[in-house]
Symmetry: C7
Subunit: 74 residues, 7 copies
């Protein structure tokens, strides 16, 4: 069994572009700058995508408890 | 791994204008005056935005457990 | 970081008129008479507002876990 | 700050008629006979009210975690 | 204040017919055979009632966290 | 009061056919092969039933926190 | 009673193709590469299936608390 799977993955992606799927079919993209063990994320250059529309958000703090999927974007 | 990501971000924004996205597609804007480690926020000059309408709320206490995203507003 | 933001705000408003937004778009107004650290509130002269209608409730005990926003009413 | 606000209010209402608003727009009325610190209530002569209809329930045990508001009925 | 209100009520109803209201407007009736302190119930001769239809379920284990109301059926 | 009601019932049904009702009106049937104290279940020969349709799932791990009712199938 | 049923099943499926059903009728398929005791999963070659459509996701971190069912895919 691997411990702290979420921390490992997030550590590897600091400074990189990630996509986050939230409850309620929201999708956020941005550059991961900080995170903690509750999957709270700080993103820069973030934008929200919903039903084809993009809304620029800039720097955001995203609460971990609404996250369903995190995916690194090559 | 960074500890207390939410506290760091909130500390940097006391006295500044922030935008908060809540569950149920509510958006609140206001000046952050106080906060605690549960992301409970005290805002002054707050207003709620929903489907294009703005409702002035004045001073409010906002419970942290409904927050999805916090974004500083330059 | 400020500790016990909710207690501070509630303490300052005992005996005063407050507005509470609950999950499910309910709004309650009343005079705050008592509270505890879970944001459970006792209100007198309370009324519920929904879609323009007002329902008088008198004295109520309001459970803290349904609260989204508390706002003092000048 | 007052401790145990819910216990105080419930203690004062044993043997009396109370109205309870539950999540999902259910309203229950009945005579409070027992309670515990989780707001679990035992009611006698209870009835449920929904959209103008009344359903007699008799003696019931009502779980505290669905309660939004409790109001004594003079 | 009474402690363990739910245990008292359930103890008094072992071997008796009870009605349970669950979240999502489901109603279950059956004979209570066992229970624990989480309100997990074992029922025999159980049936589900929804919108006028009855579905026989026989022996069931019912998880306590979906229960809203328990009512003894004379 | 009986302790560990869920463990008792699950233990009696290892190797037997059970029906599980999940939140969201999903019904799963299968042979119980393993379980733990959180009601996490391992089923073989499982299938999902929804609105009259059956989908074969084979071996599955079913998380306990979505379960409403477990019923042994004679 | 078996302890750690979820860990056993996940351990047996590292490097293999699994199907995950999430709340909100989402289905994810991918190769399990890592996991932890909260059922947080790391998948490679993942894709999302919804109402007949497939969306490629590549490498993803999937939070355990949205999972309903995990099924190994032979």
């Amino acid at each position: 069994m691997s411990i702290d799977v979420t921390v490992q993955v997030l550590k590897d992606n600091v400074g990189k572009n990630i996509m986050i799927k939230l409850k309620g079919d929201k999708v956020i993209r941005g550059i991961l700058t900080k995170f903690d063990q509750h999957m709270n994320l700080v993103l820069s250059d973030a934008a929200e995508y919903k039903a084809g529309d993009q809304t620029k958000l800039g720097n955001i703090l995203l609460k971990g408890d609404n996250i369903i999927i995190i995916s690194p974007q090559e």
